[in-house]
Amino acid sequence: MDMLVVNNLYKSFGGVKAVSDINMTIDEGEIVGIIGPNGAGKTTFFNLLTGIYNPSSGDIVYKLKEEVSAKSFKPFKMTKYGVARTFQNIRLFKDMTVLENVLIGYHNNFKYGILSSIFHLSSYFKNEKKGNEEVTQLLKIFDLYDKKDTLSKNLPYGEQRKLEIARALASKPKLLLLDEPAAGMNANETKELTKLINWIRKEFDLTIILIEHDMSLVMDICEKLFVFDYGRLIAQGNPESIQKNPKVIKAYLGGE
């Protein structure tokens, strides 16, 4: 069952084509990687998928919690559709604690109104209790529970990356977009992260798209790879075929 279909997607910034003519279908439960040299348009593609940029032309269709087909999405509605993401350059809420960061991820699962929040009616306590319990569970999975009251800016780098994933998961997504989750991690941390991604995918029944430069991670867990170069999709297939693809080798090593 396909859950994401991208049709003829274009995005240009003032005449410069950042992403052009992308066609892609992603099936439910897949874990796919997007690779390509720096500046190939990978993050722009994520920003198009999450409504941060509007496409110049083309269409994106999600079949998740509900079927949505639009040329553009509002970023804040993506979690409602079942899409959550992390960012390449870590965008945590720096002056909020670890727990509060994940509670923001849980935002749309809270169901009580402004009046209840102002007068702390019973729905406030019920919701906050449930939210805290579920978020606590997540923090334990990610080994962050002991640091739940630490300000997120004071976490070491690797744990900040993990916290961002936990925050995204708190929104209960069907599709998780990870933008360079292993960037800046050492080999050991990357190995651990690989295990974690595999585990959460099964545990939470997720489809995952990840952008990554770390080939060991990509080859290890991705079932399918998409290769971007100069904003175009130049190759797709399983990791073995991609490794042998001459176009891909050329894009990475340059020249004839």
Binding site: F76, L99, I104, F125
Partner: protein
């Protein structure tokens, strides 16, 4: 979980005791009318600072037009109580409602503006409100509105301060409040997590204006006389200074800041010629040596020992 838990009962007791002590001292003549005037001014400043803190401190939306909401509240209550002869409570509610409608209107530009640009737009809004008031003869024009019945007293002020602090504090401790703080921290990440930033920005301007309107009503019905100049750019700056001095994102900071700066201005009244010069120097020194304010973004904890912004953890 229960509303009447130990912590809440202690808080209510403390609130009532403070009120009773002031009442008692007033009856004994220890608090004379001059001290009472200053207590009421402090109360009005607390309401203004806490409500601006919601907008600027917690949600990160820079506003230099808070006095305009106060002005709208003051004139509304002035018209309702003086011209229409209705009771004070009607004036207060009307002031809050009309000001919050203005809050919605000024909230809309915030959707597109950030930082300094928003500050300037709100400044412009404040000036426009002032100029409209100056040119409106029904409300006395530049001369001002006179003969507003003096309804504001210590009791009204005190309980409206308590109400303001209670509501804004509770709001901040809810997921709605956390969403606002997330907007301050990183708007793009907040949106990606499902926070409707548009809705929350307008909401905080509306709530903030609501309470600034109440402060305006208290002001108008205490001094019996209001004029457009009282609510100009400088008043907005004064409120912002209290918030920054107390600590952006700290409600207890705003309360302490309002008390401290009101006291400073009482002392400066003895040297009227140098008052503003010294005020300027104090501002400058605060900004250079303690730009995060007295409290930073931390709350003063009286009864709950468990920290954190998360209300649930604190109220178990």
């Amino acid at each position: 979980m229960k509303i009447l838990n130990k912590k809440n009962i202690l808080s209510i007791l403390a609130i009532l005791i403070v009120y009773a002590i002031v009442e008692l001292l007033t009856h004994l003549g220890v608090i004379d009318s001059y001290i009472q005037l200053n207590l009421i001014l402090i109360g009005i400043n607390i309401i203004l600072a806490v409500s601006l803190n919601l907008i600027t401190g917690f949600t990160g939306q820079f506003s230099l037009g808070h006095a305009a909401f106060m002005s709208i509240g003051a004139y509304t209550s002035g018209i309702v109580t003086a011209k229409l002869g209705l009771p004070f409570i009607v004036g207060i509610i009307a002031a809050a409602v009309v000001a919050s409608i203005a809050g919605i209107i000024i909230g809309i530009p915030t959707l597109r503006l950030r930082g300094d640009y928003l500050a300037i737009a709100t400044l412009g809004f404040g000036e426009i409100v002032k100029i409209i008031a100056i040119n409106n003869d029904y409300i006395g024009g530049a001369v001002g509105l006179n003969d507003i019945p003096q309804y504001t007293n210590w009791t009204w002020t005190y309980f409206l301060v308590v109400l303001t602090v209670f509501i804004i504090y509770n709001f901040i401790k809810s997921y709605h409040g956390r969403a606002c703080i997330a907007i301050r921290e990183d708007e793009i990440a907040a949106e990606a997590m499902g926070v409707n930033t548009t809705y929350y920005k307008i909401l905080v301007f509306t709530i903030g204006a609501f309470f600034a309107g109440i402060a305006g009503a208290l002001y108008a019905n205490y001094f019996s006389f209001i004029k457009p100049d009282s609510f100009g750019f400088m008043k907005s700056v004064d409120i912002l200074v209290i918030v920054v001095f107390g600590g952006l994102g700290s409600i207890s900071g705003s309360i302490i800041g309002a008390i401290a700066l009101s006291l400073i201005s009482v002392f400066l009244q003895n040297i009227p010629e140098l008052r503003m010069v010294i005020y300027a120097v104090i501002l400058f020194l605060i900004m250079v040596y303690r730009p995060q304010g007295i409290m930073g973004n931390v709350e003063l904890k009286l009864f709950n020992k468990k920290g954190g912004l998360n209300g649930y953890a604190g109220s178990k």
